[in-house]
Symmetry: C2
Subunit: 200 residues, 2 copies
């Protein structure tokens, strides 16, 4: 069986969100699995000297326009959150807490967290808001709260972030297909073709 | 008649080159003209704090891979030039010298310059190499040499670069369709759709 496609994303990334709505269907078309791997863009930015888009002159205003336009182009519901960008340690830890026990459910949680932020406008940087999203999925709020404070979960999250960066993830989404890296939701068409032809 | 599509690009930009091979056909499909407008990315970088891709950790190596892959995806011949990136004042001035007299031929020159750099590997930052490309197109080498040293041509080039940046061009290609800006050769599909629907 082929390796799963590695899908690295930050919960605060609009293009990560767009890709999250598409990547499973593309993989499935080619009989492939996807390993969802949230990471923290802020840590990657320390390595590259990157800064969040909204703070960059000219580029910031452009992307404000490109986020909803690209979402619409891909047929994805999108509402620009008021709090943006946000720190995503809490949702990342909630993900890795659950991923340690139930990877399939962790993927459903990632989708719910993205939906909460980019459709409902809920600020998931707030741990209690992340916990509420977990609870709405049927998880026990107290267990989640304990989980995201657990040192083992913190360590697992840190290791996952380090692994993403070691894999080359300097932006979100960063998608690796059999060691071939693709950056951006605008590379989904290349990924689809790559999976079809096995390179070109 | 609708305004021409504004196509801002730097002669050293791989994605600008890819777009240059596609933009006229997309425009023509929708009955539109394209105004080719070379500019200098280095000047835009002063406004945004941007830096050339190869100098950025992680991002640089990724793009080395993405340049030829994206070219291939779009069916465009591409050879990574050894001298990269390069200063593009000489080709930009040659373009605006000719554009002042014969805009159609200036477009043909832009294509020839891109081909010289990204297919034949000729370092067009060298004014004599740029002049040789002009001469191969049937232009008089001495006239080109005098043209690119002409203060009026220098001023015209500077004004064009300033206009590109005033239009928001922080990267290359930067394509404006009826005041809607698109950045990157990976937005060509959105441009095609935008021209078809008039927005969405």
């Amino acid at each position: 069986m082929a390796n799963p496609i590695e899908f690295y994303f930050d919960f605060s990334s609009p293009y990560g969100y767009i890709a999250s709505c598409k990547i499973d269907a593309i993989a499935e078309k080619h009989g492939r699995e996807v390993a969802w791997r949230p990471f923290l863009l802020g840590v990657a930015f320390k390595a590259t000297g990157g800064t969040p888009l909204p703070s960059i002159p000219m580029k910031g205003p452009y992307h404000e326009r490109d986020f909803p336009r690209s979402a619409k182009f891909h047929g994805v519901e999108y509402h620009q959150p008021e709090a943006f960008p946000i720190a995503t340690v809490a949702p990342a830890r909630a993900f890795y807490w659950l991923d340690g026990k139930d990877p399939k459910r962790a993927k459903a949680l990632a989708k719910a967290l993205y939906h909460a932020y980019f459709v409902e406008g809920i600020d998931i940087s707030n741990a209690e808001n992340t916990i509420a999203v977990c609870a709405a999925l049927g998880l026990n709020a107290d267990e989640v709260r304990a989980g995201i404070s657990d040192q083992m979960v913190k360590d697992r999250t840190k290791a996952a972030v380090d692994k993403a960066i070691a894999r080359g993830a300097f932006g979100s989404p960063f998608i690796v297909v059999d060691d071939e890296p693709f950056w951006g939701s605008d590379r989904l068409d290349q990924i689809d073709k790559w999976l079809h032809t096995g390179g070109w």
